[in-house]
């Protein structure tokens, strides 16, 4: 088990190295690169640009720049934002809790929808409920999250008003009402639309996954054995089948983390939610490369870590899995 853990962690290193090299050279190969904005500014002279290049170390050969960047990265230093002249790390740390809140609440909502829907669909496959659920999951999987977000704003901010106050039913964006004292209720009110947008497609995907996982398990021999020795169908279904069918969900969720971050990026962009995705989008529009590299690297580290954790969790929960 320990050797396996060590091997997994050692294997993660080259993966992150490949990613960092690719990203770094890609960004630096972009013309103008970090100084594109300064070069377009007519008030900045050629001498000043040269000076900036020396200051930022951009006149050195690329491999040396990479080594320096990597060296700093390993010490937790992601460099400074070109636009805001602040440490990238500080900017990211400010945003992480907001993204975690959005993603965490959406994850819970997803579980609350996907678990019962998936289980009930598998309990009576091809029933009316199952057909309805299947149709809805196809709809949920096919709705682009950015369109759903716009639609929600259109419906609950523009069209439907609160009958008591005449104000919009839900806010169109942001995390809190400007000028109002910060309160939990206000935060929850701002969370509703982003969470609905983010969890919809996801719930569809997972209820479908759970359904097929359940149906696979129900065909196993040990289920037939359990029924043959006289256990009630309900007990076999919920105890024997469900506990095994839910396991692949863990691996699935970890492998799916990139698409989860992607969803959060769109939702944060549309609803002006001050999380990492919004930070990334703003940085991409302003060509703030240190911020871009920082966020991507952090996301990659989170994804790699989550995959390793999921592997172990799987082994912990399923005694049939052996590590070698």
């Amino acid at each position: 088990m320990t050797t396996y853990a060590l091997r997994r962690i050692v294997q993660a290193v080259p993966i992150l190295c490949i990613l960092s090299v690719l990203l770094f050279f890609m960004v630096r190969a972009a013309p103008g690169g970090p100084l594109a904005a300064a070069e377009r500014n007519p008030n900045v002279t050629k001498e000043q640009i040269e000076l900036l290049k020396v200051q930022l170390g951009l006149n050195q050969p690329l491999p040396i720049q990479y080594a320096k960047w990597m060296g700093k990265l390993l010490q937790g230093d992601l460099g400074d934002s070109i636009k805001f002249r602040r440490p990238v790390w500080e900017m990211i740390v400010e945003r992480i809790p907001n993204t975690l809140l959005l993603v965490g609440v959406s994850f819970l909502v997803m579980l609350l929808i996907a678990l019962p829907v998936g289980i009930l669909s598998a309990r009576k496959p091809y029933s009316t409920f199952d057909s309805l659920a299947t149709t809805l999951t196809f709809v949920g999987q096919s709705v682009p999250v950015y369109w759903l977000g716009l639609g929600l704003i259109l419906l609950f901010y523009v069209t439907i008003k609160n009958p008591l106050s005449g104000l919009p039913l839900f806010p169109a964006g942001g995390m809190r009402t400007l000028g109002a004292p910060p309160s939990l209720g206000d935060l929850a009110w701002h969370l509703v639309l982003p969470v609905v947008a983010l969890s919809a497609g996801w719930s569809a995907w997972y209820s479908r996954f759970l359904r097929s996982s359940m149906l696979d398990v129900l065909h196993e021999d040990y289920i037939r054995s359990a029924r043959a020795k006289g256990l009630r169908a309900g007990l076999v279904f919920y105890k024997h089948a469900l506990s095994n069918a839910i396991l692949p969900l863990i691996t699935m969720a970890a492998l799916d983390l990139p698409s989860l971050f992607a969803g959060a990026l769109f939702v944060e962009t549309i609803f002006a939610w001050p999380g990492m995705g919004r930070l990334f989008w703003d940085a991409a529009r302003g060509r703030d490369y240190p911020v871009l590299l920082g966020v991507v690297m952090l996301d990659a580290v989170i994804i790699v870590t989550a995959n390793i954790i999921a592997d172990f969790l799987y082994g912990l929960l399923d005694p049939r899995v052996k590590y070698d």
Partner: protein, 308 residues
């Protein structure tokens, strides 16, 4: 008929006629999936509309400065945008771009996936190890973030053909999607290469390339088609999303995503801008997903349609 083993095998296998019969069975099973057939028709309508875009009486970039934000009417069926451009026309032309990106990035993705998966699964050993580690690395990429980074970097390219043209968007989407098909194909190759008919082919003197492309690959056609349709749905969503964020195909070329992007800015003034391009993405993606479902059922020998 001579009695050489080669002829005997040919006679037993009847490759040409067997394939034909199988194709007929698959087609019949697909046609039984009513929703998939309906989806195929819906997709055909979308494709026809996109193909016939030039029949529209407007050009996609034709501006009418006097007519911005017109609501849908008889002259502008789906209204106009902030520059007075006809939305219906732009959606038709945008369909060309979105469908082309979806189709060609899928073809590229599947080609890459098949090559890498086949090499990995067939040869095994160090090559398999190397290719699968690279695949693992790509799988941990936060895809949309890397796509945005690439899109942002490409946008500043001085070389015209490198800018965010339809071609570069196709290539960057494929470059970040080949991993799932590669894994799938590798798995199929691992199983199929151990089968007796492969040993027989080898005994008859078939070389590796022949075995890979003529004997193993045709047996993977079902899973490849299913994976391809799902990939196409996801590629269309990715392209639209990337264009929506401003890092996909650049204006003035319309795509469904970039029309939605304008809509975001003007959603309060002109809600119809936000509705129709999204409807097109939704219908197309849903149709492709249903077609994928129909193909999966058609190729799966264990699926029995319950009275449908």
């Amino acid at each position: 008929m001579t009695d050489t083993p080669g002829n005997l095998l040919l006679e037993l296998g009847q490759p040409a006629r067997a394939t034909e019969a199988l194709a007929r069975v698959i087609l019949r099973r697909f046609l039984k999936h009513r929703l998939a057939v309906l989806a195929l028709l819906a997709l055909a309508v979308v494709v026809l509309f996109a193909a016939g875009a030039s029949w529209s009486s407007y050009a996609p970039t034709q501006q009418e400065p006097a007519n911005p934000f017109r609501a849908p009417s008889g002259t502008h069926w789906l209204g106009t945008d902030e520059l007075g451009r006809d939305i219906f026309t732009r959606i038709l032309y945008g369909g060309r771009v979105s469908l082309a990106v979806g189709l060609f990035s899928t073809l590229l993705t599947i080609t890459l996936g098949v090559l890498i998966g086949a090499l990995s699964g067939y040869y095994g050993g160090w090559l398999d190890n190397l290719l699968m580690r690279i695949t693992d690395a790509f799988l941990t990429f936060p895809t949309i973030f890397v796509l945005i980074l690439l899109g942002a970097a490409l946008r500043d390219q001085p070389v015209q053909w490198l800018k965010n043209s339809v071609l570069t968007v196709i290539v960057i989407i494929a470059a970040l999607s080949w991993m799932w098909p590669a894994r799938l194909i590798r798995g199929l190759f691992l199983v199929l290469r151990e089968r007796d008919f492969i040993a027989a082919t080898r005994a008859l003197g078939g070389n590796n390339a022949r075995i890979i492309f003529l004997h193993i690959l045709p047996n993977c056609i079902g899973p490849i088609l299913v994976a391809g349709t799902l990939q196409m749905a996801s590629a269309i969503i990715t392209e639209s999303g990337l264009s929506f964020l401003g890092f996909g195909v650049q204006p003035p070329t319309p795509t469904w995503g970039s029309i939605l992007s304008t809509a975001q800015t003007h959603v309060f003034r002109a809600p119809w801008l936000a509705i129709y391009p999204g409807v097109m993405i939704f219908i197309t993606v849903m149709a492709i997903n249903y077609i994928g479902d129909g193909l999966r059922d058609a190729f799966d020998p264990y699926v029995i349609h319950a009275g449908k």
